[in-house]
């Protein structure tokens, strides 16, 4: 029987797809958002359950600016406006709520993220956000220029064609966006590395350990928390922006609370409070998810798993179940994740 199973499984496809996804733009965007969350949660101890708010701010800020054709529809200005929007969100979350207890901050951030998402969906903002339909092609309405085209065609230095081999073969557009995505991940990680080895980073970690101790030593805790929220938020907003490059559209479904918890899983899997954690976490996360999904799909298709237990259209849910299991079990048995330091992993934020 077991031999039979192995005969049915396309091992090359299994690993190929999983590897492909683990280096995809999607993995890069999750890593990027996790780098931002890492500064919030891993280093500063802020329980930000509204990561998607920053991603949505970046994506929508950029897309609205561009589709409205403001200031001549400049792409760089559009991206900048996405970032500015994220800063505004950080300030409006941070100014009133950073003095709250950790679990209250968690509830506040998740609620603010939902408020933002529901507002974007609203019929009243139809002209700007496209309401529930989103902005299916991010196109300058005056000049009829598609955002994705400018990024992936006009600005693409790579010659047309396919690169790589096997399941790791990408066309020039995908490759270009992958390069942008992973470059941003590297840049952001470098930034965090530089910050965390400085005296600034020392204060940030001290705030995670004990706010009052930091205060008693003359550190303006509130100001540092706000700085952390803004920097991490801007990094996460780039995750939203790159996701929009990749998909070519924005819509509110991309920014449901579950995306926040995907990013939490990525961070905890890789290891909070470590520089490599978000990167290793995202790559591993997508490898595991796609590997298991594909394995299940092949097993269901070949009749190895009877329909009564699992049908092929249920397989997408398995992704969420796996995420849930990973989040819960890692928290219990390996809070330091794959590459984090054990000594720094126990969370005791009050």
């Amino acid at each position: 029987m077991l031999m039979n199973l192995f005969a049915e499984i396309d091992v090359s496809k299994l690993f190929g797809l999983a590897l492909r996804t683990s280096i995809s733009v999607q993995a890069a965007t999750f890593a990027l958002a996790a780098v931002g969350l890492n500064l919030h949660y891993g280093y500063t101890g802020l329980l930000n359950f509204g990561v998607v708010a920053f991603m949505a701010a970046g994506a929508y800020g950029m897309a609205i600016f561009f589709t409205q054709g403001w200031l001549g529809g400049s792409i760089l200005l559009a991206i900048a406006s996405g970032v500015v929007f994220a800063v505004v969100i950080a300030l409006s979350i941070g100014l009133p709520s950073l003095r709250l207890r950790a679990d209250y901050l968690a509830l506040t951030t998740i609620a603010i993220a939902e408020v933002l998402r529901i507002s974007f969906r609203s019929q009243r903002l139809l002209d700007f956000t496209g309401g529930p339909f989103g902005l299916p092609s991010i196109e300058d309405r005056n000049a009829n220029v598609s955002f994705a085209d400018v990024i992936t065609v006009d600005w693409n230095p790579i010659k047309e064609g396919n690169y790589g081999a096997w399941f790791l073969e990408f066309d020039e557009k995908t490759l270009w966006v992958m390069i942008i995505g992973w470059s941003l991940v590297s840049l952001a990680s470098l930034l965090i590395w530089g910050l965390m080895r400085s005296p600034w980073g020392r204060v940030i970690k001290a705030i995670r350990e004990d706010e009052d101790a930091a205060r008693a030593l003359g550190k303006n805790v509130f100001s540092y928390k706000l700085q952390s929220l803004i920097i991490g938020g801007v990094i996460a907003s780039f995750a939203g922006i790159v996701r929009a490059f990749d998909m070519g559209f924005v819509e509110t479904q991309q920014f449901r609370p579950q995306t926040t918890f995907f990013i939490w899983t990525v961070l905890i899997l890789g290891g909070a409070a470590s520089i490599w954690g978000p990167i290793i976490g995202s790559m591993t996360f997508w490898f595991v998810i796609i590997f298991s999904e594909e394995l299940l799909r092949q097993m269901v298709d070949s009749g190895w798993i009877p329909d009564a237990i699992l049908q092929s259209n249920d397989i997408a849910s398995v992704r969420m179940i796996l995420m849930g299991i990973m989040l819960a079990t890692l928290m219990i048995w390996r809070p330091q994740g794959l590459v984090g330091k054990k000594e720094e992993a126990q969370i005791d934020i009050r």
């Binding site: 209250y104 509830l107 506040t108 507002s119 849930g324 819960a328 079990t329 928290m331």
Partner: protein, 288 residues
């Protein structure tokens, strides 16, 4: 207006457990709303598959409530109790509960399916008039059950030994322990009671609307809003908060777009957390 009252009662029913559990353990349980969905799905399963429909339907509700209590027992005995004794912090446990919520939600999706369903037993009903109000008969049933249950929970908390223990543990676990209350046993009963109530709330919500796998996700923030409004950790606060939130979000459609009705609840929650995090009925934390 009556539908506002009805939704309010149901949100209150679903919220008490979350508040009680927070009160005695300090855990913000993100999986609580999945217990609401769980109750509804179990009742539906009993009705359609086992055949507890028509006059037997109340039995399906009772069994669903028992199953909910059993789930609460299982979660405390199997997961949260042991982890608490391992000295895991409430923040870590909160993250565990988030993982658990996704696990439960998507297991429900796989076994219940993506299609919303309604209970057969009360599908079509003509209105029954009572004074100036005309309602389907099931609404009297729902309002009656919800109201009676809330009243009984209130009595339980105020008048029984178990209720007193629950309030004592909620107030000060160390003091409760030293005055001879079995804290772990009390916490266990809180989980059972809270989950059973969530299940009941779920079946009732299923009766008024539909039973679907996303029920939990949809009601989660409503419950959080209710509980923070009333004051985290106080059962009566959850009742008042639930009524207020349910009422506000139902009646807001008079002056706000339908797709924005959740915003009211969320806005209330954010404002309360910022301005008066202990809620309207919560007491100020004592300073050392």
């Amino acid at each position: 207006m009556v539908s506002g009252l009805k939704v309010g009662l149901l949100v209150a029913l679903a919220s008490i457990g979350l508040s009680l559990i927070f009160g005695v353990t300090g855990l913000v349980n993100f999986a609580h709303s999945e217990m609401v969905a769980f109750g509804a799905v179990i009742a539906l399963l009993l009705e359609s598959t086992v055949g507890l429909n028509g006059a037997l339907f109340p039995l399906a509700v009772v069994l669903a409530v028992l199953a909910g209590g059993g789930l609460g027992f299982g979660l405390e005995r199997g997961i949260f109790g042991p982890l608490r004794r391992r000295k895991m912090t409430n923040i870590s446990l909160m993250v565990v509960s988030i993982g658990l919520a996704f696990l439960m939600r998507y297991l429900i999706l796989i076994y219940h399916g993506a299609e919303p369903e309604t209970f057969e037993s009360f599908r079509i009903q003509s209105g029954v008039s009572l004074g100036p109000i005309e309602l389907p008969a099931k609404d009297y049933f729902i309002i009656g059950i919800a109201f009676t249950t809330l009243l009984m929970v209130g009595l339980l908390l105020q008048r029984t030994k178990l209720g007193t223990s629950m309030r004592a543990v909620s107030d000060n676990p160390a003091l409760a322990e030293s005055s001879g209350i079995d804290v772990n046993r009390t916490i266990m009963w809180v989980w059972i009671l809270g989950s059973a109530l969530a299940s009941l709330g779920g079946t009732m919500i299923g009766l008024t609307q539909v039973v679907e796998w996303q029920m939990g996700e949809k009601i989660l923030l409503l419950i959080f809003a209710a509980v923070t409004l009333g004051g985290l950790g106080t059962a009566f606060g959850a009742m008042v908060g639930g009524l207020a939130i349910g009422f506000a979000s139902e009646t807001s459609t008079f002056w706000l777009d339908n797709d924005l009705k959740f915003l009211i609840a969320l806005a209330v929650m954010i404002v309360i957390l910022l301005v008066r995090p202990r809620g309207i009925l919560g007491v100020r934390e004592r300073l050392g």
